[in-house]
Symmetry: C2
């Protein structure tokens, strides 16, 4: 039966808007079955008079109930309660203390990440460029972005690649996206569904997880490390029927090795031997070399347009900037346009404008050089400190690695799990070489992969003293 609500008495549920309060009141009466199916509601005029509100208020409440189906109207007869069975019982108030359950543990020494130290990022410079972008591009910020990213940024990237990587790239073949991980999702879709990819073994665990998550079929291809010239077992590519190879010729992680020109030529031979073969060249980290010159990418010597080139800016501006890009061969770009140009670009225009300025003005290059100089100093100090451990026979240092990493072969029988555990207790987080293998075996144990980017002297001393004490 309809009972008048106490509308004028504000209560904790009150919205402060009369018609909404009335709507909520009647709705709750229907849900709780105090108003039953086909029961007639008071006329708008009567209800308004009884409540001392305007007819408009009642009208608004009824019309909201009508839209949502709680009531229905019968011409010339008025409004009636609709049928409402099985309305679920109200959820308990699940409002809860905001847990920060996803917080990551912080370690004093992090040998896993080759991230630069926070203070190395050009914070105030980047903020200045963002401010400038706000003043200069205020209007454009509200325009729609082309699916493959702002022309300004793509041109800046093409120029950068021409000058510093020896690559001739049309800005039209560049696709901007929010992070490399995002790119793989797109990339999978331009390949035939049944394509089998090849990942080097060992390689980053994250890469395998990414391929797993995208349900990207893949095989692992062994790196032959026993010869004087460690190399990828290209023969396995044929054997395992792979048509796409994912590789970082400038720095195959975690081996830390540069692919020689001979091996590159063999890869190109495989690539051109059959239709529909592609190489995904992840050039991440390629500019971070401690001495000499970055090695030219495979992309620059491919003449058949079969290489997908990928890179990211997270390491070179700020880790919280999610901008990556990939360069597609003409054929794949065509397919991308046909099937995926309806996707919006996943990076906001503001940060694309800012990044374009950052690159054009040479800040990217200067940043890379600064970090490289700094890492060279860290490397020297680290090697000095490790030397005495090597001299006392506790470990061997493998320094063939390019980039800001090296490998430590520990002279111990402890299983890797145990080594990690002990180091973790001492607030040192690390990865062991064995973890990078798809098929971990004891034969690959006892090797720590040391990413030393951003380490300071204190941390180096601490690491060495801990290593000294546990071996």
């Amino acid at each position: 039966m309809f009972t008048l609500p106490d509308l004028l008495k504000p209560n904790e549920h009150s919205t402060g808007i009369l018609y909404l309060d009335l709507y909520e009141y009647i709705k709750s009466q229907i849900i709780s079955h105090e108003l039953t199916f086909n029961e007639k509601l008071p006329s708008k005029r009567n209800l308004a008079a009884s409540l001392g509100v305007s007819i408009k208020t009642v009208e608004n409440a009824y019309s909201q109930l009508l839209i949502e189906g709680y009531i229905h109207s019968v011409e010339k007869k008025g409004y009636f309660v609709s049928n409402l069975e099985h309305y679920p019982r109200q959820k308990e108030n699940i409002k809860q203390e905001f847990k920060t359950r996803f917080q990551q543990t912080q370690y004093y020494v992090n040998l896993r990440s080759n991230r630069n130290a926070p203070e190395d990022f050009p914070a105030s410079l980047w903020c200045r460029i963002m401010r400038e972008t706000l003043s200069e591009h205020q209007e454009e910020l509200f325009d729609t972005i082309p699916f493959n990213g702002l022309a300004e940024l793509r041109v800046a990237i093409a120029d950068h690649l021409r000058k510093f990587r020896g690559m001739e790239v049309s800005p039209d073949c560049i696709i901007i996206g929010s992070g490399t991980e995002y790119m793989y999702g797109r990339l999978k879709q331009v390949f035939p569904a049944e394509s089998i990819a090849a990942l080097p073994n060992p390689c980053s665990k994250r890469l395998r997880e990414l391929f797993d998550n995208h349900r990207f079929m893949y095989e692992t291809i062994d790196m032959n490390l026993d010869t004087s010239e460690p190399h990828l077992r290209i023969d396995q590519l044929e054997e395992k029927n792979c048509s796409i190879l994912h590789i970082s010729p400038a720095h195959q992680y975690p081996i830390g090795k540069v692919m020689t020109i001979q091996e590159r030529l063999k890869l190109l031979e495989w690539l051109n031997n059959k239709e529909n073969r592609y190489i995904i060249e992840d050039d991440y980290d390629s500019e971070y070399v401690l001495s000499g010159h970055p090695v030219p990418p495979l992309y620059s010597i491919d003449v058949n347009d079969r290489i997908i080139y990928m890179n990211t800016f997270s390491k070179s501006v700020t880790p919280s900037l999610r901008i990556s890009y990939m360069i597609l061969p003409e054929l794949l770009m065509q397919k991308y346009m046909d099937t995926m140009s309806f996707y919006s670009c996943s990076v906001s225009s503001f940060e694309q404008y800012a990044l374009a300025k950052y690159i054009q003005r040479g800040h990217l290059e200067r940043f890379i050089h600064r970090v490289n100089r700094k890492n060279a100093i860290v490397r020297t100090k680290l090697l000095e400190s490790l030397k005495s451990l090597e001299n006392s026979g506790k470990l061997q240092i493998a320094t063939q690695c390019v980039g800001s990493m090296l490998l430590l072969v520990l002279n111990t029988d402890m299983p890797d799990r145990k080594i990690k555990e002990i180091l973790k207790e001492k607030s040192i987080i690390t990865s062991m070489m064995s973890e990078y293998y798809a098929d971990p075996s004891v034969l690959k144990e006892h090797i720590i992969v040391v990413n030393y980017s951003g380490m300071n002297e204190e941390q180096i001393k601490y690491l060495c003293s801990v290593l000294d004490s546990i071996i």
Copy 2:
């Protein structure tokens, strides 16, 4: 044979750095086979003397050639040219005029997009908030972001949903991502691989393309429009063995219909009838109502935690801002964490901070109200103008639609393809109802879907006069 380079004479290929010029010179000699396999290079000292450069310069050039494998060293004998067969011929200079081949055609009247007019976006307000963010959060901008987004933004979203959508949500179950399209890619990965999704028929073509692209198996479920209560054929969900339903109960596009409480309860019944069933509730556009109050989401009456809620901010701040979010049921969130928390958050922290401020200060609500008021005026004017066409029997207006859209049923025999073509010639871009069907048939023809958000009076007049002239 080794011939001395003209190092001191700068040429167009010169890098300006001596050792790099020397490295490039020797490399090109090896590639062109002027230096042949196993040929000995001059000693560093001799070459330095001949060229009048420091030994260090030669050393750097040789060491770069060594790393890349163009030369090798033999102890106590010196440096030798390595084997280099099949070096590909150099690519022609493909540097080309930057084509803008992906530019979209602009139309005078765009009835396809329900985007607000550019001038309606709060440009200067948004820029002010971005400036503030730069001053206040400069340091935090360089921190790593949790995989599911900044806590600040997730808390702001949870508060907004509590106040304005009647939803109780823990910020821990919210995942921030760069656009709704991105979200589907992730979402697919938390469901079992063999899950079959259900898409309403008709629905947005983009949605079907998105599911196709992600290789997300789906069936289409008919909307029954023939009864007085148009509804989704829930019986087909069982029949077609679907376990996931994608739906927008607040505004099923392009029908433009609000789902009644009766239909919602039936959906929940289906949902709870069997394990592992889920509903993806895309609540896009739900707050854009022309009169009355936004309809509460299905999420708010689900007690079994089986609904994935999705929404985006592109329409409410600027289209160039790529921030969406989804709310996962506890069970799926657990799976997401187990398998995908290694993914980085795909939105940069800067814009997350700015958006959190924008929401917290009530700008989002104010913007929505402003746009709704404006659209109500456009609707009135549009209906007025169309009235005379309806009176002369040229079309019927279907106004049951919520949101800023309506349907025009043209009194014509022209096929839809022809109608679109004629309108396009007159610079009016539109979609016909038939295009939204997975199985277009002539029975569904002659209905124009009019999205009028952002239209001005001139455009309304023009549209009506064109319609008048072609029917």
